[in-house]
């Protein structure tokens, strides 16, 4: 009996030696082979880290125009009146009382109870590109991509304070606990990457004292947790818990994981619990992530001229580096990439702060568009740029002149597959207060993004508390046909 155990033991050691020579992935398949698992039973848990789970009405409902979305989220509320929305009348009325017809009965944030005066543009505007798109002098690099982007000047939202407004922009409602756009997309479409999550979030460092941003903004809400956004950090550990424990090596970790799989598999033979197989696959994907993420964030293979184009210094956590990382994530099949840059909340000293924010984001943003284009990826990528709201035509003076939060009209832009290029959509009134032409609600933006990915926003549903919930809710939402090619 004893010799039998000894024999079996040697056997196991030999097998371990074999497995540890092979790469993790092959080791897994080999181990599964040893255990007699067929390819077919492996099929269920593969399909990326977040396989789609959208039920019988699963998308695509239409032929998709794009494969992925990169959302450049300018948190804090960039001023539309200092970026894309030029209003000569605003300069004409500079310093005068704001006509009450605009503001009567309207929600107001920090200017509650204050005298409301018009604040003229705090920069110059020019017309750029073939269409003569208005772009301010704060954005010289945007001026150069005027032929590539489609500016939406008639955005409206419903929430006037940062936190709920972020929640509204990301989930379509201010009520907590609902899934973010990126979660809906990975739920509907899954990830195209075998090694990376389908929904990745990065928040850049740099700039002024920023407004907080909550993990709620990339939460899967009531969707299964696997669809939650995974935050990538710029520090030594790009994803939480990615590094092996101090004192252990990758080889030891892989031996450990092999043992866990072996034991789990052995135990499950009698049980045939499908959840256990999913768990085995989860360990496999975890170890693939451990291998692939460091490779992803290591930008040493990027040539100098690309780093210069973005203005990226690898590892600095800047928006520039994150834009470059976004391209690398896009290349690797990540479905939804969201980059937050904070610090756009300019109640005062707007000029100074715009210089800071635009200085950090303008060049890398245009570099991302141009880099994707030169790689032929702009055609199957959708880029969205914008914040949770805009800023008032009225003066606010915390320090030098600034502007308060504004929700009745502001600007965003989109670019990429299926979107008109060098096109301006919608208008606000003569003072940039109310969206008047082609008013575009956040819901419409969401419906359009889904449409470009081949999803009918009315048919991407998840049953929660007795209701078939959807990103766009119950109010009517309209795809922005006018901006589609």
């Amino acid at each position: 009996m004893k010799s039998t155990i000894q024999d079996q033991y040697s056997d196991a050691v030999l097998r371990r030696a074999f497995l540890s020579r092979s790469s993790v992935g092959i080791g897994y398949l080999a181990a599964m082979n040893l255990f007699g698992v067929t390819k077919q039973s492996l099929a269920a848990p593969t399909g990326g880290i977040a396989p789609a789970l959208a039920g019988p009405e699963a998308p695509p409902h239409y032929p998709p125009r794009v494969k992925r979305v990169i959302f450049l989220y300018m948190a804090g509320g960039p001023s539309h009146l200092e970026t894309f929305d030029f209003k000569p009348q605003l300069n004409a009325l500079d310093g005068q009382l704001m006509p009450p017809s605009f503001t009567q009965g309207q929600p107001i944030a920090q200017l509650q109870g204050a005298e409301l005066k018009v604040q003229g543009h705090l920069t110059q505007f020019g017309k750029y590109g073939e269409s003569g798109m208005w772009i301010s002098d704060f954005l010289p690099h945007h001026q150069k991509i005027a032929n590539k982007i489609c500016v939406l000047r008639s955005m409206v939202t419903e929430q006037i304070n940062h936190d709920p407004a972020h929640t509204f922009m990301n989930t379509g409602t201010a009520i907590s606990g609902r899934p973010a756009l990126g979660s809906w997309l990975t739920y509907g479409l899954g990830s195209e990457s075998e090694n990376l999550p389908g929904f990745v979030v990065m928040t850049s460092v740099g700039g002024r004292n920023p407004q907080p941003i909550a993990a709620r903004q990339w939460s899967a809400g009531f969707l299964p947790s696997r669809y939650q956004g995974v935050e990538f950090n710029s520090g030594h550990e790009p994803v939480n818990y990615l590094a092996n424990p101090a004192g252990t090596t990758a080889a030891m970790q892989s031996t450990l994981i092999d043992t866990i799989r072996e034991l789990d598999y052995h135990r499950n033979q009698g049980l045939r619990d499908s959840e256990a197989e999913t768990r085995i696959a989860a360990y496999e994907l975890a170890s693939r992530m451990q291998a692939s993420v460091p490779e992803l964030v290591d930008m040493s293979d990027e040539p100098e001229h690309i780093l210069d184009m973005y203005g990226a210094r690898p590892g600095d956590g800047s928006f520039a580096s994150n834009c470059l990382l976004a391209r690398r994530l896009a290349e690797r099949g990540v479905r939804f990439i969201q980059l937050y840059h904070r610090g756009w909340d300019h109640h005062g000293d707007l000029v100074k702060h715009m210089h800071t924010c635009c200085g950090l984001t303008d060049q890398p943003t245009s570099a991302l568009v141009l880099d994707l284009e030169q790689r032929g990826m702009l055609d199957d990528t959708l880029i969205v740029w914008g914040g949770e709201f805009g800023r008032t035509p009225m003066f606010q003076g915390k320090g030098g002149p600034g502007r308060d939060h504004h929700i009745k009209g502001f600007s965003m832009w989109m670019a990429g597959g299926g979107i008109k290029r060098g096109f301006t959509y919608g208008e606000t009134d003569e003072l940039g207060y109310n969206a008047t032409v082609d008013r575009t609600h956040v819901r419409d933006l969401h419906a359009t993004i889904l449409q470009q990915l081949g999803i009918d926003h009315q048919r991407l549903t998840f049953r929660h508390q007795g209701l078939d919930m959807r990103l766009t809710g119950v109010e009517p939402a309209h795809v922005l046909r006018g901006i589609l090619q």
């Binding site: 590094a243 450990l256 135990r267 975890a286």
Partner: protein, 845 residues
């Protein structure tokens, strides 16, 4: 698991129920349709949005949520449905129409009926279009089934629960599974009642003899341990959305931890659930409320709040009011009254007026102060607050005060002994008595300690009643629109009314109504709660929709049983422990969870309960299990929230103020998961990876996901690695060969001995780890120094060193001192990590 289930479109859920519940009865020509299970859900899902309770969106003036509006009950009264005559029924003609303009539901609603669903409606009309009230609004009915005969259907039946379950199975020609093996049962019961695995000692003590009776004793023991309250509290805190931070914007800490301890204590005291309810909603309105009853009213302050610059108080007060209605209705009514904020409910009879009338009950809560005085500090200000001593500290303080008094008397020549006081009923588990040195030094020490205890009082937000704000119906939920009528507190109209001729109704009236089984909603509340208690013991409720007992909710699989349980709950005096004991005593609960071919084929979702369920334990239980295996878990009830290790910089996106997370540097590090600091915006990533909710809203059932991120936590989270170091430490000092020690280690985590193959695998791992660490002493030192327990084990040196394990192994009481080789320790740590990563370690089955 449940998420996958609910991801399916409703139609397929209905179909699933048909197949598994109604088969084979339903699939014949004369198959009788089941109105509540088959027909009503279809009408609700496909018709009510436009022909239901909401008058504002009702189309063609046709209402089909009330039978009198659309079913003809006498000749010459043509309505949309003519019983027994599908061909004369407009409803049937329209659902079968092929013309795009005629068909119902309309094409643009994108909510079509499948062929099978159409046929269900046709058959229903053929069979006479019988109507029943939705199960959710019919009060629980008493029933008393007899145990079915022949006995082979339920040979092991132990109480009336089994009668209901066996009866449904008998109708399907099947039976319950046999009893699970004893170890599985002990683990199941221990996880379900304590959230912890059984100790090896318990496994030994309860495995022999008459198993059923042993298990009964085990249940009794567990119900009496303090960990029980912590387990139940973990769940209750999800429901009421308890968290340590304000949630919105700066997400600063707020003072609330005494409320968490109140919940734990209440479950441990087995406080009747009706009293528990009243104290939370309206403890401040009780005559001479006790400290505990005031702490309980922290419930009303648990919601997310904001003092972000630029918030408009009126808007936020409206947000808070809505939040409260959502939570109250979800927790106690299993209702989604939140849907009626902007319009009448689409599927249930709640009107928008009901929503605001419920909100009006809470209009007296003093809660606007923070808009002015909030402040970006940690913690922030959320008056009104009050400081309270923990009940354990209070007892200790009383004891010390009496000691001081005695000592003073003694020094004045009194001969009265102090031993009498020491014999008092004061609970002093964890506090060792002071040994008198000299009287005056001792006295000073006592007085200092008494002061320290007094200073340990913790602030807690409480409810203070002030003159109520005016509450109006907000048209479409718009707080800027003041055109809606003013409402006063009232319960939803269709549920009756509370008359109180002179005075305005109060929160106390509402709370009492919720638990009043004679005049109020008591039986309904009880049914919601027992369904959830059932879920805690089976993983799923008898109605799967533990959060929606409305028209869109799933009817219970065993309605009579659910009703009977609700009645039992009320009759028992709302005795939570009694209900759990009752469930744990049933043969149904004690069944094996193994799936057979029959289960897979006929009841894959285990609706019929012909077996128990297998599922991964919760985030907190995973943490607690690893810590207890590692000999690190601190068993202490209550106190401030604890901060386990967390990845550096995890709070970097927080601001107002910016903050660094400082993980606990003492025994707080190893407290149970229920005490973890609950940061709403950045919930601890370990908890998040295992599906713990952020507690922004009520969570009645968590997902149980299986993700690579969770695997990374299991592998690499320092808390779990440290637990493995601790587990290794528990075995390296033991005598015996490697395989014996592996068996010991394995059984700590799984309550069973490993088989040959398992031993071999682990020996191979040990062997390869030994080879690694023997040549890398520094790596070994590093691994075994994971966490702060390493430095707390005094005397650790490189390669070989002396270890006093008093700090970490205290829980086991094994004080020992010996030579330990760190390379050996590290190698065993790898084995422990494997064991603490096994699916089996964290499965309850």
């Amino acid at each position: 698991m449940i998420a996958n289930f609910s991801a399916l479109k409703f139609s397929s859920i209905c179909l699933g129920i048909n197949l598994c519940l109604a088969f084979p009865v339903c699939f014949g020509a004369a198959a009788e349709v089941d109105f509540l299970r088959e027909v009503r859900p279809l009408l609700s899902q496909h018709c009510f949005a436009c022909h239901g309770p909401d008058a504002n969106t009702r189309q063609a003036d046709l209402r089909i949520d009330q039978p009198e509006s659309f079913i003809s009950r006498q000749p010459g009264d043509p309505k949309a449905v003519v019983p027994h005559s599908p061909e004369q029924s407009e409803l049937i003609r329209r659902i079968l129409a092929t013309d795009g303009d005629e068909v119902m539901p309309p094409q643009d609603a994108k909510n079509p009926l499948s062929d099978e669903e159409q046929q269900v409606l046709v058959r229903w009309v053929q069979q006479g279009a019988a109507w029943q009230e939705s199960w959710a609004y019919v009060a629980p009915k008493r029933s008393s089934p007899t145990l079915p005969t022949p006995a082979e259907n339920a040979p092991q039946a132990r109480n009336w629960i089994d009668a209901y379950i066996a009866e449904v199975l008998r109708e399907r020609g099947f039976h319950m599974s046999s009893r699970a093996d004893t170890v599985t049962l002990l683990r199941r019961i221990s996880f379900d009642l304590l959230g912890l695995p059984p100790s090896l000692d318990d496994v030994r003590r309860f495995s022999d003899g008459d198993v059923e009776r042993r298990i009964d004793t085990y249940v009794e023991e567990l119900l009496a341990t303090p960990e029980f309250g912590e387990r139940l509290a973990s769940y209750w805190l999800d429901l009421v959305r308890y968290a340590d931070t304000v949630g919105y914007h700066g997400d600063q800490d707020h003072n609330i931890s005494p409320y968490r301890d109140f919940v734990i204590d209440s479950f441990n005291d087995n406080k009747p659930f009706d009293q528990f309810t009243i104290e939370q909603i309206a403890g401040d309105l009780l005559p001479n409320p006790s400290d505990e009853q005031l702490i309980a009213t922290g419930y009303n302050r648990l919601l997310q709040t904001s003092h972000e610059g630029g918030v408009q108080p009126e808007e936020y007060l409206a947000i808070y009011a809505a939040d409260r209605v959502r939570n109250l209705s979800a927790v106690w009514m299993g209702a989604t009254v939140g849907c009626a904020q902007c319009h009448d409910h689409k599927y249930d009879p709640y009107t928008a007026k009901d929503f605001y009338a419920l909100a009006a009950f809470f209009a007296d809560i003093d809660e606007a102060q923070h808009f002015k005085v909030g402040g970006n500090s940690i913690p922030t200000n959320r008056p009104p607050e009050s400081a309270f001593l923990d009940r354990r500290d209070k007892q200790l303080l009383e004891f010390r005060k009496r000691q001081i008094l005695n000592l003073n008397r003694h020094s004045r020549g009194s001969s009265q002994s102090s031993s009498k006081d020491r014999d008092s009923s004061v609970d002093l588990h964890t506090h060792t008595d002071k040994s008198p040195t000299t009287d005056s030094a001792y006295l000073r020490e006592l007085m200092e300690e008494a002061d320290a205890i007094r200073n340990s009082a913790r602030a807690c937000m409480i409810t203070v009643s002030i003159a109520p704000r005016t509450i109006r119906v907000l048209p479409r939920g718009n707080w800027l629109d003041h055109s809606g009528p003013v409402v006063v507190p009232a319960i939803p109209e269709f549920l009756g009314s509370l008359s109180k001729p002179v005075q305005r109704l109060s929160r106390l009236d509402l709370a009492k109504w919720l638990v009043d089984h004679e005049q109020g909603n008591g039986y309904f509340t009880a049914r919601v709660m027992v369904n959830r208690l059932w879920m805690l013991m089976f993983g799923q409720g008898l109605s799967r929709s533990v959060d929606d007992f409305g028209g869109q909710g799933q009817p219970p699989s065993h309605p009579d049983l659910l009703d009977r349980l609700a009645i039992e709950f009320v009759d028992s005096g709302w005795d939570v422990k009694h209900m759990l004991r009752l469930i744990a005593s049933s043969a149904a609960y004690r069944q094996s969870s193994l799936e057979t071919q029959w289960h897979r084929l006929h009841d894959p979702n285990n609706v019929l309960l012909a077996r128990q369920n297998r599922y991964r334990i919760s985030a907190e239980m995973i943490r607690d299990t690893a810590l207890v295996c590692g000999g690190l878990l601190v068993r202490e009830v209550g106190g401030p929230s604890a901060k386990p290790y967390q990845p550096p910089g995890y709070y970097r996106h927080l601001n107002f103020p910016t903050r660094e997370y400082e993980s606990s540097s003492d025994h707080q590090q190893w407290r149970r998961g229920v005490y973890t600091h609950w940061q709403r915006q950045f919930l601890h990533p370990m908890l998040r990876a295992f599906d713990a909710p952020t507690r922004e809203e009520c969570t009645a059932q968590r997902n149980a996901s299986n993700t690579p991120l969770a695997a990374l936590v299991w592998l690499n989270d320092p808390s779990l690695v440290e637990a493995a170091v601790g587990l290794a430490h528990r075995v390296i000092g033991r005598e015996g060969k490697d395989d014996t020690r592996i068996s010991y280690m394995f059984s700590i985590a799984t309550s069973r001995l490993p088989d040959n193959q398992e031993t071999i695998s682990l020996l191979a791992l040990l062997d390869s780890a030994r080879q690694e660490f023997e040549t890398k002493p520094y790596a070994a030192d590093t691994l075994v120094s994971t966490g702060i327990s390493g430095s707390m084990r005094r005397g650790v040196t490189h390669a070989t060193g002396t270890i006093h394990s008093a700090d970490t192994a205290k829980a086991q009481g094994d004080r020992y001192e010996r030579k330990v080789n760190n390379a050996e320790w590290a190698a065993w740590t790898q084995v422990a990590r494997a064991i603490l990563n096994l699916s089996e370690t964290y499965n309850r089955n």
